[in-house]
């Protein structure tokens, strides 16, 4: 089969890690008889430098026409990169928000999984790390405070800023369905996170999630308050299978969940539309401090490409092959610097890509 992939290298380590993921996709193509066509798209700081905006209409159109999007990372350093002297809607990260909205990517899936080979990096105590955990955070990505109306104005001479958190039942229903569908393929456990003791949007969230749950009698649904969830992630991460939550809570909790794995360089993510289309990117950022030094860990991006194979192209066997190759690399004690420990073999970004390809 033939697939058209829009590739957004972005900023910082973005280009390096995306290159390795493309190499892996090509190896998969060769082995399984597919071909991947890539169209490069600018987004983030590099787009600002070229066109003055973090995402051009053309770039968005190219992404729209593709079968799926592979993204490295965008962004630089506030106070260092001149991008941050621009108004907020013209900064690198605004490109990310624009492409999410522009492509209608309402479902952000972020797996947080503890690799047994990397247990040592887990910041939690040994007994928790030993028990392991394997969860997926399903974050609503095109609603809530991120895309509500906002304004800053003087009210009686006092500067006042307002952001708006809105959800309607349709937005909640489609993300809830996505979470339940995913749970059906996993351990059939959904924890819905909100702040229903305070927010109207959370109470509507609760109600609609309960309605959707009726269509999934096999799935166990629990509601959890966001503050409690922030605690439980640290206390007992093994209790989580699928977590579903709104945009801002999902931003916070998915990052917390990433960190408790101790190896954010390993974590992939997918942002999906209602059909098979999606954007795939590592959970980590652009890490400008190590950019261009062949030090980045490409695994999160490679695993994001695997998610692309699975979710957008229905190539389960191919996705498995990539995931297994990554596991094999870890078993063979090959490590980039971020996951390095005693007795392991240290490799660079390129070499890690090559080692994965060898094992496909």
């Amino acid at each position: 089969m033939n697939f058209n992939v829009a590739v957004i290298p972005g900023d910082g380590i973005g280009p390096e890690i995306v290159t390795e993921a493309q190499k892996v996709l090509n190896a998969v193509g060769e082995k399984f008889g597919h071909s991947f066509q890539y169209t490069e798209v600018d987004m983030g700081g590099i787009s600002i430098d070229k066109y003055g905006v973090p995402l051009t209409e053309d770039a968005l159109e190219t992404a729209k026409k593709s079968d799926a999007v592979l993204l490295g990372a965008v962004g630089g350093v506030v106070g260092k990169d001149s991008w941050y002297e621009l108004p907020p809607n013209l900064r690198p990260e605004a490109g990310l928000l624009a492409i999410r909205k522009g492509l209608n990517l309402f479902a952000n899936l972020r797996p947080a999984y503890l690799y047994k080979e990397l247990k040592g990096a887990c910041p939690l105590k040994e007994e928790v790390a030993d028990a392991g955990f394997d969860m997926i955070i399903v974050r609503e990505l095109t609603g809530g405070l991120y895309f509500g109306e906002r304004k800053t104005e003087e009210v009686d001479g006092v500067l006042t800023a307002t952001d708006t958190l809105t959800y309607n039942e349709n937005e909640i229903r489609r993300i809830a369905k996505k979470a339940f569908d995913i749970a059906m393929k996993r351990r059939k456990n959904v924890i819905s996170v909100d702040k229903s003791n305070v927010l109207d949007s959370s109470r509507l969230w609760d109600k609609i999630v309960n309605e959707v749950a009726k269509d999934y009698p096999e799935v166990t649904l629990t509601h959890m308050l966001v503050d409690n969830c922030a605690m439980q992630l640290v206390k007992n991460p093994a209790q989580f299978d699928v977590v579903v939550t709104e945009n801002m809570f999902g931003d916070i909790l998915s990052d917390e969940a990433s960190m408790i794995t101790g190896s954010i360089g390993m974590l992939s993510s997918a942002s999906l539309r209602e059909d098979k289309f999606g954007l795939y990117e590592p959970s980590h950022g652009a890490a400008p401090d190590i950019a261009g030094q062949n030090k980045a860990n490409p695994i999160a991006t490679v695993l994001s490409a695997a998610m692309m194979l699975r979710y957008s192209f229905d190539l389960d066997e191919e996705a498995d092959a990539v995931e297994k190759a990554v596991e094999k690399v870890l078993e063979d004690n090959i490590r980039t610097i971020d996951i390095m420990s005693d007795g392991m073999t240290l490799v660079g970004c390129k070499e890690m890509g090559n080692e994965i390809i060898k094992r496909i």
Copy 2:
């Protein structure tokens, strides 16, 4: 001196833990020559049972007339206690929100400190626990999503819920000042947490915090995004001294910070007005599952009473005496069940109170 304390036992373990804190206050009074008058006030479930609302006007008035308020905890179990069949604004927790707003308690201080004696309970790995940490989260408590306008309505036949996040410069300035004042008495380090890459309210927050910082040249100010903060708390809690943030972020992050101590039964909190007046309560909840069994840990409430002595009554020496007594109890290996470990002496709630008093 003579102090008038409004006491809100509340629900669950509230009455038990508040009783011990009062015993400790009385012991302090005897030793240092003060007298504490207590007026009991109903709030939460108990108030609903008596008056149909979680906080009556009378109760609020009594609290207003006091020199300070000591609170146990409010709330029960959703799906079990009939309080949760009431509309949200009549549930136990609404009493808490009403008293915060009614008393203008805009500054919530939540220390998160790792007791070396309780290191074993810390869910983080040994090297992090060994390094220890000692931070205070300064949470804005009367603004933001908690008190903005909200509505649920049908828009073109689609149920839509909206909450509003508003901050004005005065609200931000007073909480920022509070945080910097506290930092001056500590390690002179403030981390201001927001989501300025998305929210207008966060950008105003940033701007005003920067302005306030100019009056505190000795204090180091850093801005941190909320998602990053959720990660850093797990990765390296020792980097935090004073954290200042808005209401909802503060709710989430202060609970996360509590949990990484592993001993939430030890953590006090203060909610302050612009003058010396404040409300003091443990960071933990009403724990209805162990209510009335003499199993609760009263230390968080006792330490909250110590904060009352310090912040509302300017009785630093007396506050020190309480804090030292608690430390001594721990050194003497006396433990309630929540912080119990091998070789320690297990005591109940009352007995813990008595042991603290003996050491004052």
